[in-house]
């Protein structure tokens, strides 16, 4: 058992209790989330900055159906993640794995819908450097922000599957599942800002 494990299991005779009463791994995830929020915030500020500066920013989205479905899927996957974590905490391993995999499936579905949407837009002539509706920066910012988010979703799905399998095999415990869950909720949380800023404000009337 290493020192790190000591902190993870709250074995506090040899060391000071952790600052915020959470294991180091969870703390690291929170720190990652803080850093990542700064990254997304920088991207969104950059997008907002450019959008405000352009009086004729394109508003090409006709339908909200796809993005609404994607939002519901992602928020629901957060909920299923919570069920998985709860089951793991209660010791019901099979149920926990099942819910985790359902969450991962939700992530995959989200990613597929997203890619389908991307392909649709690419079909309409939207590229990183141009689009048929106006400011070239529309495509650039849309693809880079949603792309960054999609990258996070993909990473999250892989993490969920890996952690889920290893949890099943006994290598990881319910805490690890919970920490992966933290990340997954964060991906969901970022989407909550991406939807209104990138989609809804660019809705054509």
């Amino acid at each position: 058992m290493s020192h790190a494990d000591l902190t993870l299991e709250g074995y506090s005779a040899a060391i000071m209790p952790p600052a915020f009463s959470i294991p180091a791994k969870k703390m690291a995830m929170w720190l990652f989330i803080i850093a990542d929020s700064a990254t997304f915030a920088a991207c969104l500020v950059a997008y907002g900055y450019l959008r405000v500066a352009d009086a004729h920013w394109p508003r090409p989205f006709h339908s909200i159906t796809n993005v609404a479905i994607m939002t519901v899927i992602l928020v629901t996957s957060s909920l299923t993640m919570l069920f998985g974590i709860d089951a793991a905490k209660a010791g019901d391993k099979a149920k926990a794995v099942r819910w985790t995999m359902i969450t991962a499936a939700g992530g995959i579905l989200f990613a597929l819908l997203h890619i389908r949407e991307w392909l649709g837009l690419i079909d309409e002539g939207m590229r990183l450097f141009q689009n048929p509706w106006g400011s070239a920066l529309f495509g650039a910012s849309f693809f880079s922000i949603t792309g960054l988010h999609l990258l996070h979703v993909t990473g999250g799905v892989i993490a969920l599957i890996v952690v889920g399998i290893r949890y099943k095999g006994g290598r990881y415990n319910s805490d690890d599942l919970e920490i992966t869950g933290l990340y997954w909720h964060f991906v969901d949380l970022v989407w909550m800002f991406v939807v209104p800023l990138v989609y809804l404000l660019n809705l054509s009337h």
Binding site: F20, L50, A53, D86, L189, P196, L203, H205
Partner: protein, 103 residues
């Protein structure tokens, strides 16, 4: 570690939060179709998104149940950094008027 019983009751709480988040998201979609001008709409969107995010952070990510120190650490640090980024806006607005002679 909390007991299984505590978790059964938390399931109910999660569903309430889930419904709230979806309801707020739905409200955003409704606002998107209203005829508000840009800044008004943006303000409403941001407020709603922040509420959604707060719900997710506090209850999905369990920050409310953690040590209060962690809550303050995360919220103050993230809030401060994001707030500090907002200086640039005035220049963005200036770009609207400071168009090059060419245009």
């Amino acid at each position: 570690m909390a007991t299984a019983e505590a978790h059964r009751s938390s399931t109910g709480k999660y569903i309430v939060v889930y419904v709230c988040i979806l309801a707020i998201a739905a409200l955003q979609f409704v606002i998107a179709y209203s005829n508000l001008d840009g800044s008004q709409m943006l303000a409403r969107m941001l407020v709603l998104a922040t509420i959604e995010a707060a719900l997710a952070v506090l209850f999905f990510m369990h920050l409310w149940m953690e040590n209060r120190g962690l809550l303050w650490f995360v919220v103050i640090l993230t809030g401060f950094v994001i707030f500090a980024m907002q200086y640039s806006w005035t220049d963005s607005f200036r770009l609207l008027n400071g168009v090059p002679w060419a245009k």
